[in-house]
Point group: C2
DNA sequence: CGTGGCCTTGAAGAATCTCAAATAATGTGG
DNA sequence: CCACATTATTTGAGATTCTTCAAGGCCACG
């Protein structure tokens, strides 16, 4: 299990311009419509900061809840889950970061990670030494950058709360599928056919249902011909119907 | 109804150092334990920015969801609710900002407010012209400042999701009372006896229950002698028991 | 003193959860 | 390469919880 506080010996340390790296991996793939302004920043963040690429195997923990914060992690490829441990060993999934997402933003203030990040498939991240970048950045460009990203995260988080609030199980699952669909599309994959990296239990935790209810709901969707479900391979037959399901009830 | 995009004519424009104002109102009252580092920042944000105080009457809207973003608002006194409008006129309360909290952080990226802010009592805010401050800040101090606040907000938002996730109605209401208790204490009031500014319906929306269930749960708590409930006046008899309720179940 | 908003309480109904069992898929070790 | 252990998924049925619908009371305000 990888610990967040130290760069494992195996990781190659590759110094190169952050801006270039940012362009190629982190910010570029982010939700395009929302993020157009971030993709081409007016000012450029610090260059010449040593970044580290790090592979993370399926099931490995990138950083643990409560561990000291040193790095932000830009997901280069793969899928993660962010989890909080509730009492009684029960844990809560708060998001499924994918390529282009930045992990660890909620640790800046406290200096400790507020959640754990676990790889749902063999993945690779880019470790960004927060203090170093913060210090070496002459203009407020980097901070302004982070501000925008975090503002975006806040909006996303708020949006997620809507999913957990009132809606029926069908609305929740529909919302989840639509989120995933958008995420896949934003990364250049099909919006209507994709492979889910997460288990039913993880989905359930994320949307606030039990795994059984998630399973039943997906079965129901399939029975009605709205989506094809074959294990974790999803084929959305009608985005419109899913949106209706998500919106109508409450 | 006040609109976020323009300073009403009645508001007095009072130029004074932002740092001073920040010390007195915005950051100082924030959750002390978590926030010790923010109370006395190593660097000082921009001075000499014209800030505006604005009274907001009970029921008035400080800014609307979707409206153009120009100001951050530091709550000087009073209580607000942040609400999102779901479909079908149903709306979702996402937080109850109080003195010292900063409103509008989730609007930075999109340039439009992601939620509305409504006063739950006669309140007063300090309007911070975001662009002006951003521009006049020579060092990255201001942005770094915001970063930390937003990081904190992210953590808070995540924490709120835990409340909405699985728990029973009793765990949710207990969690809400404990949150409120901490918030009151952080602002110099009693942690065990306070006046709630929000209706049962608003509480219900916040914790993901109907107002009836909230009412019933509060009644049950009172019946068992755990809290005193007299309309909106709350007396917590045992914080310990409430914490147990919040933690045990799931 | 009437009106409207807010709160409480009851009873029936609906939805999800829990418990349980069977099946399928995956990985391990021999 | 196969048998076995483990994990993931589906489905059923009963139990529980919350919601819905409804009615009545309390309080502030005009």
């Amino acid at each position: 299990v990888l610990q967040g506080q130290q760069v494992p010996a195996v990781a190659r340390v590759i110094p190169f311009p952050l801006r270039e790296e940012a362009r190629r991996t982190a910010w570029k793939l982010r939700d395009p419509p929302v993020n157009a302004s971030v993709v081409e920043p007016a000012t450029s963040p610090a260059d010449d900061v040593a970044l580290t690429r790090r592979p993370v195997k399926l099931g490995a923990t990138l950083f643990h809840e409560g561990s000291r914060f040193h790095f932000l992690y830009a997901v280069r490829q793969g899928t993660f889950k962010s989890v909080l441990v509730l009492r009684a060993g029960r844990d809560q999934v708060t998001q499924f970061p994918m390529a282009g997402d930045l992990l660890g933003l909620d640790a800046i203030e406290r200096g400790r990670h507020a959640s754990s990040a676990v790889a749902l498939e063999d993945s690779e991240v880019c470790a960004i030494p927060f203090e170093a970048v913060q210090a070496q950045s002459p203009q407020p460009a980097w901070s302004a950058y982070l501000c925008r990203l975090m503002s975006q995260e806040l909006a996303r988080s708020t949006h997620h709360m809507l999913m957990l609030a009132k809606p029926s199980s069908e609305a929740r699952v529909a919302m989840f599928l639509l989120e995933l669909s958008s995420a896949m599309q934003a990364r250049g994959y099909s919006a209507t056919e994709f492979h889910m990296r997460m288990t039913r239990a993880e989905i359930g935790s994320y949307v606030g249902l039990t795994l059984e209810t998630v399973s039943r709901t997906l079965s129901a969707f399939q029975r009605r011909g709205w989506v094809g479900v074959e294990k974790r391979h999803i084929t959305i037959k009608s985005l419109r119907i899913l949106r209706d399901i998500r919106d109508e009830d409450n």
